[in-house]
Each structure stands twice: as structure tokens, then as C-alpha cells.
Amino acid sequence: MVEHILLYILFAPFAGALALIFVSNRQPMLVRGIAVASTFVCLVAAVYLFYAYDPVKGGFQFVQKFQWSKELGIALHLGVDGIGTPLVLASAVLLFTGVFVSWHIKDRTKEFYIWLLILAAATIGVFMSLDLFFLYFFYEMSVIPMYLLLGMWGSHTKKYLEMTDPEGIKLRDSVGFIFNFGANSKEYAAMKLVLFLSAFAVVALMGILLIYKYSGLDTFDILVLREQANLMNIPVLGTTLDKIIWILVFFGFASIAPIWPLHSWSPVGHAAAPAATSMLHAGVLMKLGHFSIIRVAFEILPDTTREMMPIAAVLCVFSIVYGGLVAFYAKDTKYVIGYSSSSHMGYVFLGMAALNYISLSGAVIYMFAHAMATGMLFAMAGWVYDQTHTRDLPSLGGLSNKMPFIAGCFIVGCMASIGMPGTVNFIAEVMIIVGSWNKYPFQVIVAVLGIVLTMAYLFNMMRAVFYGPMSQKYSHTHDAVATVDRLPLLVMIAVSVGFGIFPMQLYDVVRSGVDPLVAKITYVAPVARTDDETGEIGRDPASGANRLPLMTPHSRPLASYALREHE
């Protein structure tokens, strides 16, 4: 029963989607009920998973393996480590709250929930896949629901709606063509998102196929590949094969993260998407990128990762600064949050690039924390949009009188996003900054300035939406009063603040996943006993002298880890 917990988490949303097919759209409450029930099962199981995960034991737990195709070397191999567990929890929380955030969708309710559930289940599938094939399978599967969610229930930008002259209407209705950048319609956003993500997904797929071919093991199993695949020192095209694979995998997956020059689909997509989709998109879909890089590049090519990761350290600066600046000047609530997400993903890349225990743990916790914070912000931006039918910052204002609850939550959301002490974001940011300081002091300075920038644009948005004079046309708006409207925000605030005050379980879990990985990557000199321990899942073979004991994470204060790192 308990050992199948991953299957419950993964298949509860699928089962919900399947059940919804047989329900009529004329019974909206039944539709919502099924959605709530399936996501609730998913959430309860994910919470159980999070607390049942044993950080002392570490490694991959709750492993499930079903042979799927012998000829192709594919198995449905599921398992979570300390990195996957919190992300599964974050996905479950955002899915559960997302169902409530979408409560008032009237058009084709059933279809909306079907695609939302499939999207979330696919992302959860990535976080627990231990097989490269299924990792890609779920990854690609999460893209198409986005197209329909954006296209069918999304919203156009103001710029698009302003085109009312005949020429403009002609232009804006020709949006079937991708190169029509003038028209920021939801169709354009949806198409751009899908094509962009698919294009880079196939780049990653090329990397995966090369791993499959050159490992010569005829398997896609990550656990086998990371122990046995030897992809080093194969010369090809003037460089070595492992570098090419690493580049393919890194940029293939980093596009969804999104790293700086590949980010442009993301804010457009955020802006067009309905609230719950933005939440899942920013909250968990973007983390698929970091997670897949960790799972594929870090696990299978540790030595190449050590060599190549400075690329991420360079690009993350652009992510942080560019995203922050655009967010500061953006005039659309969702663009602000969207670009802020792109900017904040730069912090995760910084933490990953520094490659030590503290910074990488910080990066993983940041993914979790950012999911909650940005989920809140998008949920509230969605509420404001539903009430006012605009996302245009200059025309909004003074809504705090009309919606005090939303305004209050918005402050909490901004605080969380900034990384105020008391929220889990604070812990993550401190860990990234402390952990990266020795290796990348310049980037850390930029990151700290980026926090100031975050403060600037979020306060700016808060002022523009909730304070100042209110236009009369918004006098009909009202606050979130009903339980179903308040519940999602309260849940996300509770998770964010709860883990901000009691972070130890989260920290222990993440450390148990990060420690063996960092030990494997940063450990340079070969040791005689490399091949003996391979049988045991979750143990790295190269357990060297600088590996920290997993058993007693509590016994050391944070600073002593940081100091030990660089002895």
C-alpha cells in the first residue's frame, strides 16, 4: 500500500481526468468535485510522501519498477530522492490550489479540468521518473495541455485588444503565423510556447539518444546509466562527446527553466494563461528544466558538469538582471510576475552552478519556495483580472478598499517572493548566496542587487494595483469571500510560512538528495574503492574523503557546512 505511494500521486490526477471524460458539462459541481477529489488524493499522498521520506537513509525511495519494453530497454521506473520529493509536494499543492483558483471558469469547465489535471500529472511524472525515456515522455506530455489551456481559456494582451482599426484587426487575426510578432494574442503565446518548448525538447532528446547509443547499455535507466555509462574521452568534432551531450541536455532543458537567451516564450505564455495554468507553469513547469538538468546532466555526466557549469554561472547573471529590469518596466501584472519568475530562476541556476552542498540545496529549496510564492502572486493576479478584466497597471489602482483580503495576501506573496525572513524563500536565498560566495562573488553581488530590484518592481506593482485612487469602473469588484476562493491562498501562505519557520524537514530531505550528488561531482581524485558499492541504490560509488556524513545533518549548524566546503 505505502510502497505504491508514487503511483497514487501520479495516477490520481490521470484517473480524475479519465473520470471527467464521462461527466457532462451540465453538471459543473460534479466536475469540480471530481477534480477536487482527485487532486486531494494527490495532495494527501504527496504530503505523506514528504514526511515518510527518510532523509537519514537518503537515496531513491519508494522505488517502483515495471518493465515496459524489453527491446527498447525502457521501464516505468519511478522513485524520488531528496530533490524530487519537495518538487512533487510543490506540484501537488499547486495543483490542489489551482483547482480552486479556477473555480469560476464557466466555459467548457470539464475540458479545462481535464487538461489541467493532465498537465499537472505529467509534471509530477517528470519529478519521479528514473528512466530517461519516461522523463522525456512526461516532459513532452506536459507541453500540449499548455497549448489548449492557453488558447481556450487564456486572455489577450492589451496591445492586441487595442488593435481595433481594420488594418490592426486584419493583422491580429492572422496570428496563425508564428512570425507575426505584432499581435500578442493568446494564440500567438500558445503557439510560441509549444514550438519553443518542443524545439528545445528535441535538442534534449538528441542528447538522450546519444547517451543511449554511446553508453552501449541498451537501457534508458538513469540508475544504471549513472553507474555504468562511460561517455568520457570520446573525441568528436574537435571536442569530446560528453561535452556535446552535456550542451544538448543542458540547453534543451534550460529552455523551459528558462535561462536567459531562451526565456522569451515564458512571460508571453504566463501572461496569456488562465490563473491556474500560470501557477502551474511558473510554479512547477519551469522547474522541470532545473530538475531534468540535475537528473540527467548531473547524475550521468558529473565530471562534465563540473567542467561546464560555469556557463550557467555566466548566463544566470543575465537572467537575473534582464528579467528584473523588464519586470520593473512592464505594464502588465502578469508580465511583471512572469519576468520576475524568469529572473528568480537565475538564482536557481546560480545555486546549481556553484555546485556545493549549501548552494545546491539552496537552489532546490528555492524551487520549492518560488513555486509557492509565484503561485500566490499569479492566483491573485488572476483574481484581479477576473474582477477588472484588465491587467494594465496604469489603469488599475486603489483596489485594496474593494478587496482587502486579496490585498493582504498580495503583501504576503510579495514578501515571500522577495525573500522576507519567515518565509521559506528567505532560507533558500540565504543558502544560495552563502553557498555561492566563495566561487562566484560577482554573481552573488548581482543576485543581492537583484533582490533589491525584486523589491522595487513588486512594491511598484502592489502600489499600482491596490493603492492610490481607484477608477469608478472598478466599483463593482469584490473581494474573495467564499471559502473556495480563500482556501488556495491560505494553503499556499501556510506552506510558505510554515516551512519558513520550521524548515528542518525540508532541509534534511533536500540535503539527503544533494549530498551524494555534490560529492560525486566535486570529488576529483580517483579512489581505489569505486566499483564496490554500486549495487546499492542511492549511494554514490565515489564516496571520498570530503563527503559529509549523511547521518547527522542536525548536528552541524549551517555555517560549519559552508566553512567546511572550502577547506
Binding site: 475540458e111 525515456f133 506530455m141 500540449i144 508564428i178 514550438l195 524545439a199 535538442v203 532528446l205 539518444l209
Partner: protein, 497 residues
């Protein structure tokens, strides 16, 4: 050479499906003549019963491992032949089910329609068993004969007539190429049976095989032999288009596999290059031109050209796994394509249009049809968890093992290009609002075809292992094929020897 033409009862058993189907189509024809007032749907049901019985017989052959060869190796029945026969018969049954409503449009000769469809299927059943150049020629012409008539079946429709004429002229031209190629190859090698050939590297042999390949390329519609495809697909009655887009391709690939893997296996370094070039051209041309299409049948025609390019990747891999992947891919293509055409037929019946613009808001008019079309198109595009994704991946895995990186790169880029035009149709169906919101109804047999297509697309996508095992068993005879990567340096025999 001498042929042993004495046939024993055991030999006749090998021909049982063909003999049965021949008798059955005579029955259909006689019933049609004998009772002209009988509604044609009865004939359709009768035909489907016959085809299902044939399918059952083939399934029994497959389970019982019946195999052998006849007429001095002209006709072989191995597991691959059985696979392709089931492929052809199955797709024919689905096409007849999907035709039942459409046949009302024909003013004359409604009964003969079913006869002709089954006759073409019979020809293709011989085609997949063809093991020498003569039976190859005869069976190809036999199966194409029915198609010549079927494509021009809408007598009053000019586009249908044009399609028929175009198909006929180019088809006869291809037949000429085939005959010329066969004569050259026979002149050089002195052999007709594939497995007995020991082709040497002479000008005549190479030109001969190139001509044969061109004729088969015409059948599958690979670039540069594709020029008949869009107009013929567009003008032909839609069920015939569906038939034409699936069954002959499967049958022709059966012959291509035998030809390349058996007859000219020793020329492998050379034909790999040829196939790589044709595959890249087909995929890229098909996908890029498909973007500009406004008519759904033309879109599916160009997408079909691109899909053939994908299948050719498996052939270029030239290994056992490559042939497995071809079989698997064709099966996924069968379900997705027949399903998509069924939706096209159903929609055209309801709204009288095949323009993509008229699919606007299909989701509101018929959620079922829109959802089915969505899944079929996404399967063609290769999106998990649908069958097309596994098919593409299977082919790519087979190719990557042989180190065909250029081909895979082009194939992967083409996935993204194809995604665009399939999604444009999805956008029309799901995002645009309908101009006429009246619901679109769908008849029973059509629903059955769509359900079968959906079931195949989803089941193979989610749990492909039984099908993988099936195709792996079907091509066991190619286990000894080695890839070009096994050849240390592919030293090319000079063209023209």
C-alpha cells in the same frame, strides 16, 4: 529456371486467405448483380464480414506459425508477410466501414465500389508476399488497377476526374520504370527471386535497382516521386484517399524491406546514402509545404509524404531493429491516419466542406470528433502518450544505433515543424469560435472507425510492448543484418562500376 507448379493441399493452405477473399469478392459481386435493390450498406457489411474472416484466418496463421513458399519461391508466406497482410486487410475493413455513408454520393456502381476496394486489397496481399521481380510486377499492377478506377469514382466531379487521370498517367509511367528496371536486373543477374540474387556492381544492375526503387517510391509517395500525391489525394473520394494513404504504403514498404534487406543487402553502404537523401527530402518537403495548405486532405497528403520520410529512416538504418521500427511505425500511422480521415469524412458529410477554416469551433459542435481529431493529429506529430511518439522514437533509436546523426537531426527538427501545422488545425477546432454552431452528427459505422483509431492510438502509445514483441517476431529473419556502423570504413563501390 524451372517452376514446380504442382500444388499440394498443404500449399493451398498457405493461399487460404487469398483464395477465401477471392471467393468472397465474387460473392459480393454476385449479390450486387443478383439483387440490385439491395441497399449498398448491406454489401458493405458483407464485405467487412469477409475481411474480418480473412483477418481471423491470418491471425490464426500468425499464432500457429504457418509459413512456407510457393511457385518456386515467387510467393512467400513468412511472419512479416502475415503482418503486412493483416495490416492491409485491417485497413481495408476500416476503410469500408468509413465509406458506408460516403458511397451515397455515387450515382452509379455503388456495389462495385466495395468489390474494387477488396480487389485492390487482394492485390496488395499478393504484393506483400512477392518474393521475386515478376510476382512483384504483377501484384503491384493488380492492386493499382483497382485504384485507377476508385480515384476517379466521382464521375461528375472534375477534380476527381483530374485526380484519376493524373494518377493513371503517372502510375503507368511508374509501371514502365518498374518493367524496365526488372528487365535490366534480370539481364545482369539472370535471377528473379530476391534471395537467389547475387547482384554485382555493374551499371545495369545499379540502374535497374534504381528504377525499381523509383517505381516503389512512386507507390509510397516519397520525394522526388511524390508529385501525384496532393492532387490525387485531394480529388479522390475521401475514403479512397484514406485507403490510398495507408494500405499501398504498407504493401510497398513490405517489398522495399525485402528488396533492400535481401536482394541488394550487399550494396548496403550505397543504398543507405540513397535512402538518407530521399528521407531527408521527403520529411522536409512534406512538412514545409504542409504549412501552406488550406484544405485538410491536402494537409494530410503532405503530412503523409513527411511520414514516409520518417519510415525511410528505419529503412536507412538497415538493421533488424530498423525493420521492426518500420512495422511498428506503419501500424501507428494506420490508426492515426485512418482515424483522421474518418473525422474528415464525418465532418465533410455534415458541413460539406474540407477546408481547414471550416473546422472552426468543431469542439463546440462535436466535442467527440474534435477530441478524436486532436489525438490523431498529435499522434501523427509524435506527442506522448500517443502511438506516434513511440513509433518515432523507435525509428530514432534504430537509427541512432547505426550512427545516422544527420538523419535524426533532420527528423527531430521536422517533428517541430510538423507540430506547427497540426496545431493550426487544433487551434481552429478548439480555440476559434464556430460560424455555424449547429452540432455535427456522426453515423454509427463512422463512430466505430473513430473508436478503433482512438483505441489503437492510445493503447499502443501507453502500452506498446505486445505490439513491439509482435513486430520483433515478424522480422526475425533479418536478425543477421548488420548496420553500416559495423562496416569499419564504408568504402563505396563506384557508381557505374
Amino acid at each position: 529456371m524451372t517452376f514446380d507448379l504442382t500444388i499440394s493441399a498443404a500449399d493451398l493452405l498457405l493461399l487460404l486467405p487469398e483464395i477465401f477473399l477471392t471467393c468472397w469478392l465474387c460473392v459480393v459481386l454476385i449479390v450486387d448483380f443478383a439483387s440490385p435493390r439491395l441497399p449498398h450498406t448491406r454489401l458493405a457489411v458483407l464485405s467487412v464480414i469477409g475481411l474480418v474472416a480473412t483477418l481471423a484466418c491470418l491471425a490464426w496463421f500468425d499464432v500457429a506459425h504457418v509459413s512456407g513458399s510457393l511457385f518456386g519461391n515467387m510467393f512467400v508466406l513468412d511472419r512479416m508477410a502475415i503482418f503486412f497482410k493483416m495490416f492491409v486487410v485491417g485497413s481495408t475493413a476500416l476503410v469500408i466501414l468509413a465509406s458506408m455513408q460516403y458511397v451515397d454520393r455515387f450515382t452509379l456502381f455503388r456495389g462495385e465500389y466495395y468489390f474494387l476496394v477488396m480487389m485492390s486489397a487482394l492485390g496488395m496481399m499478393f504484393m506483400v508476399s512477392a518474393n521475386d521481380l515478376l510476382s512483384l510486377f504483377v501484384s503491384i499492377e493488380f492492386s493499382t488497377l483497382g485504384f485507377y478506377i476508385l480515384v476517379g469514382y466521382l464521375r461528375e466531379d472534375l477534380t476527381s476526374n483530374e485526380a484519376g487521370l493524373k494518377f493513371f498517367i503517372l502510375g503507368v509511367f511508374a509501371a514502365g520504370l518498374l518493367a524496365y528496371g526488372i528487365s535490366l536486373v534480370y539481364g545482369e543477374t539472370g535471377k528473379l527471386v530476391f534471395s537467389e540474387m547475387t547482384p554485382t556492381n555493374t551499371t545495369g544492375t545499379i540502374i535497374g535497382f534504381l528504377l525499381i526503387f523509383a517505381a516503389l517510391g512512386f507507390k509510397i509517395g516519397a520525394v522526388p516521386f511524390h508529385s501525384w500525391i496532393p492532387d490525387t489525394y485531394h480529388g479522390a473520394p475521401t475514403p479512397v484517399t484514406a485507403f490510398l494513404s495507408i494500405a499501398p504504403k504498407g504493401a510497398a514498404f513490405a517489398i522495399l524491406i525485402r528488396l533492400f534487406f535481401v536482394a541488394v543487402a550487399s550494396f548496403k553502404p550505397m543504398w543507405v546514402l540513397l535512402l538518407v537523401a530521399v528521407s531527408i527530402l521527403s520529411m522536409t518537403y512534406g512538412n514545409i509545404v504542409a504549412i501552406a495548405q488550406r484544405n485538410i486532405k491536402r494537409l494530410l497528403a503532405y503530412s503523409g509524404i513527411a511520414q514516409v520520410g520518417n519510415v525511410l529512416i528505419g529503412l536507412a538504418a538497415g538493421t533488424k531493429m530498423g525493420s521492426d521500427a518500420i512495422l511498428f511505425y506503419l501500424l501507428t500511422y494506420l490508426f492515426a491516419n485512418i482515424g483522421a480521415f474518418a473525422v474528415v469524412i464525418a465532418v465533410a458529410h455534415a458541413i460539406g466542406s474540407e477546408e481547414i477554416d471550416d473546422y472552426s469551433g468543431l469542439n463546440r459542435r462535436s466535442p467527440f470528433l474534435a477530441f478524436a481529431m486532436l489525438l490523431f493529429l498529435l499522434s501523427l506529430a509524435g506527442v506522448p502518450p500517443l502511438a506516434g511518439f513511440i513509433g518515432k522514437l523507435y525509428i530514432f533509436i534504430a537509427a541512432v544505433k547505426e550512427g545516422l546523426y544527420t538523419l535524426i537531426t533532420v527528423g527531430l527538427i521536422n517533428i517541430v515543424i510538423s507540430m506547427y501545422y497540426y496545431l493550426v488545425v487544433v487551434k481552429k477546432m478548439y480555440i476559434n469560435e464556430p460560424t455555424d454552431p449547429s452540432p455535427v452528427n456522426i453515423s454509427g459505422p463512422m463512430k466505430a472507425v473513430v473508436y478503433i483509431g482512438l483505441a489503437g492510438t492510445l493503447v499502443i502509445g501507453i502500452y506498446p510492448q505486445p505490439v513491439i514483441e509482435w513486430v520483433v517476431d515478424a522480422t526475425l529473419m533479418f536478425s543477421n543484418m548488420v548496420g553500416p556502423s559495423a562496416v569499419v570504413t564504408p568504402s563505396l563501390p563506384p557508381f557505374g562500376g
